[in-house]
């Protein structure tokens, strides 16, 4: 198993940190250029192909996810309700108490922390869709924002619950089974 490089959250005021992620339909480079993937922005503002995240303990983590991928749909609609956030999860500034399961492109879920946020996909017919990571804000996307609270130190897995792996049986192979793509580790330090 290849461990992607660690990406630390950007520190803010005491007790606060920010994570900025993006999802892309196909990475466009590397050994699996056509795989769907997450990317993380490091504190220097550079996009890194990694899902190996580092956040501070006992803090509020403010997450922004630029969602460039189209919808695949949840296999279990249960994950369409955001859980475990501090305040509401928002899509393009609007609160989403429930996301229509068919509109979900991915989820950002940390099951051990009880955090699940569905990510609304870009419309299939959206213009100017991103074809190569890292995508830019000029390309079609949804912006999902939410906050969750970390507790004591530890390492937790995070994952996508949408079967979004194109070309794999039931959409659950390849990137859905690989660190650095649709699965990651959250190091609370």
């Amino acid at each position: 198993m290849v461990m992607p490089p660690a990406v630390a959250a950007a520190s803010g005021t005491p007790g606060n940190a920010s994570l900025t992620l993006q999802t892309v339909a196909s990475l466009g480079f590397g050994p699996h250029a056509d795989w769907v993937s997450y990317l993380a922005k490091n504190p220097q503002g550079k996009w890194v192909h990694s899902t190996n995240l580092v956040v501070p303990a006992n803090s509020l983590i403010h997450v922004t996810i630029y969602q460039y991928d189209t919808a695949t749909g949840l296999r279990n609609p249960f994950w369409g309700e955001p859980e475990g956030t501090v305040g509401e999860a928002k899509v393009n500034g609007k609160a989403i108490p429930i996301l229509n399961p068919d509109l979900a492109s991915h989820t950002f879920a940390i099951p051990e922390l009880g955090v699940t946020v569905p990510l609304k996909g870009v419309a299939d017919n959206a213009k100017n869709q991103c074809s190569l990571a890292p995508c830019t804000l000029a390309e079609a996307h949804n912006t999902i924002t939410f906050t969750f609270r970390t507790g004591k130190r530890g390492t937790f897995r995070w994952q996508c619950f949408v079967p979004c792996a194109a070309g794999f049986i039931l959409g659950f192979g390849g990137p859905m089974q690989s660190l650095g793509y649709m699965d990651g580790l959250l190091h609370v330090v």
Partner: protein
């Protein structure tokens, strides 16, 4: 050679049997009364108790067999070890029909007795199997008790639980009322998982398209461990959580809380079904 009941018996044989008898007399009570209460899975449910009893009986029966083999080996290493530099042939080995006959009879009796006892446990108390009885259980709860149905849904990589009796709400937590017969309806919406509620004595396969029914009757309040017992992908080892057995009133309170918390998502969950065949959507598949 010495005389035992008028027969000529090897001194070594008598010593081995004597050592075996003494150690067996010590080991079996220790297993039954000291080790037995600590053998898995415990006594949190009627089914778990059956399994703990089975493990205790099997361990107690194995002890004399293991001891006779171990004593023979150790005795031979100590008493019959080569001494000095000379390499000599040992005494010729000749058959001893009574010993062979006794061994065959004894082992046959043990195996057949275990087969009868195991079958009785399985049939009379099929709850004890813990592995589920498939979609059409043959052995229903005794006394016409109506079980509380709880659907267990395996998915990569989490368990969720649906309660058809209570508006089919779905939750990530599992609480059970003590003393109530539970019917777990175990299924999966992707690959094969295995729902292992360790202290309850339940380990039922979660297979896509199959409603695997496993009955359990919690007897003790407390926490139990849930894991996936079927290698199911990257985060298989993380498909773990704890459930709780609570009093009936606490269970009612918990259900009310869960229904309220899930009120918004319930309409989107779709109707309760015994199995689900979610179609691959869009590009997946």
């Amino acid at each position: 050679m010495i005389d035992v009941a008028g027969r000529r018996v090897s001194r070594h044989g008598v010593q081995i049997v004597a050592i075996w008898a003494v150690l067996t007399a010590i080991a079996v009570p220790l297993i039954v009364f000291v080790l037995g209460p600590h053998l898995p899975p415990g006594r949190m449910s009627a089914e778990a108790s059956d399994q703990t009893d089975a493990n205790t009986v099997l361990t107690a029966l194995m002890a004399p067999i293991i001891l006779i083999v171990a004593i023979q080996i150790v005795y031979s290493l100590v008493v019959f070890r080569a001494r000095g530099d000379a390499i000599e042939d040992g005494a010729p080995i000749r058959g001893h029909d009574p010993t062979v006959l006794a061994w065959i009879v004894l082992t046959s009796v043990i195996v057949l007795a275990l087969a009868v006892w195991g079958s009785y446990t399985l049939v009379q108390s099929a709850r004890g199997a813990g592995g589920g009885q498939g979609p059409s259980p043959a052995d229903l709860p005794k006394g016409g008790k109506t079980p509380l149905p709880i659907q267990v849904i395996g998915q990569q990589w989490a368990w969720t639980f649906r309660f058809p009796t209570y508006k089919a709400f779905e939750t990530r937590q599992l609480e059970l009322p003590v003393g109530k017969v539970i019917a777990f309806h175990v299924t999966s919406i992707d690959v094969t998982h295995s729902f292992w509620a360790y202290e309850l004595g339940v380990k039922a396969d979660a297979v896509p398209g199959v409603d695997n029914v496993a009955f359990v009757t919690p007897r003790k309040l407390g926490r139990f461990t849930i894991r996936c017992a079927e290698l199911c992908g990257l985060w298989h080892g993380h498909m773990a959580l704890h459930g709780r057995v609570v009093s009936a009133s606490d269970f009612d309170t918990w259900v009310a809380q869960q229904k309220a918390a899930n009120a918004q998502i319930i309409p989107d969950l779709g109707p309760y079904q015994r199995v689900y065949f979610p179609e691959p959507k869009h590009r997946a598949g």
